[in-house]
Amino acid sequence: MKLLDLIVKDAIDPNLEATTRDEAIGLLIDKLIDAKVLDKAQRDDFIKAIIKRERRGSTGFGHGVAVPHVKHPEIETLTAAVGVCKDGIDFNALDGQPVHSIFLIISPEQKPEEHLEAMEAVFSHLSQETFRSFLLQANTIEEVMTLLEEADSSTLGS
């Protein structure tokens, strides 16, 4: 799976104006609603489910990265939003460091293998220091898109 297969262009925010985890999650869900990927009526359900999941264990796995997510029965197509917060947010990360890059993933509950493929796509790049630092330096959606395209084409089908 490629990053551009899951990340919705209109749901990329290179300058996410959030100061808390819950605020960041809300803003990214709103992006997916504005992009017509999610239904506005489901807004609170999704936010609540994602925060509940975070409370069971932070998805801030270290290196300034978090992947808040939910698997939902009403979702048929996996999608993701990306927010970059230059100042960093307390995500209760495992290494105690602030989070700068947030990949919020919404997966169909009935397709757990798709969720795992998306996670693989995301972490195969987020685990690389260069990708993380380029993402932090991107100031526009176009710059983020270029980075994602380059990342996708460098994976050589893995």
Binding site: G57, F61, G62, V65, L94, E113, L116, S127
Partner: protein, 97 residues
């Protein structure tokens, strides 16, 4: 006095090795001094079992076979601990999420 131990395990929970099981596995591996790696039997690359990020890169679905390998003074114990977690489906399947 360095030992090596290994075992083949099969992921058996419906949701596969997603974030929470990956975290449980990394936490288990970190309790041991040994270096512990996991490798899909259908792939060449072994990943560090103490890194959640690397574990997520396995994309191990239900049914995926993995080789657990450990090198170090407590190699056998670390492999046994991971075998136990996988065998017990990470205590999932009754509380999917």
């Amino acid at each position: 006095m360095s030992n090596t131990d290994s075992a083949i395990v099969t992921i058996s929970n419906r949701l596969g090795l997603h974030a929470r099981p990956a975290m449980m596995l990394a936490e288990a591996a970190m309790r041991y001094e040994s270096d512990v790696t996991l490798q899909r039997l259908d792939q060449e690359k072994a990943v560090d079992a103490k890194s959640i990020m690397q574990l997520m890169m396995l994309a191990a679905v239900c049914g995926t076979e993995l080789k657990v390998e450990a090198h170090g003074s407590d190699a056998a114990e670390s492999v046994a601990a991971i075998q136990e977690l996988v065998k017990n489906s990470f205590n999932e399947d009754s509380l999917d999420g």
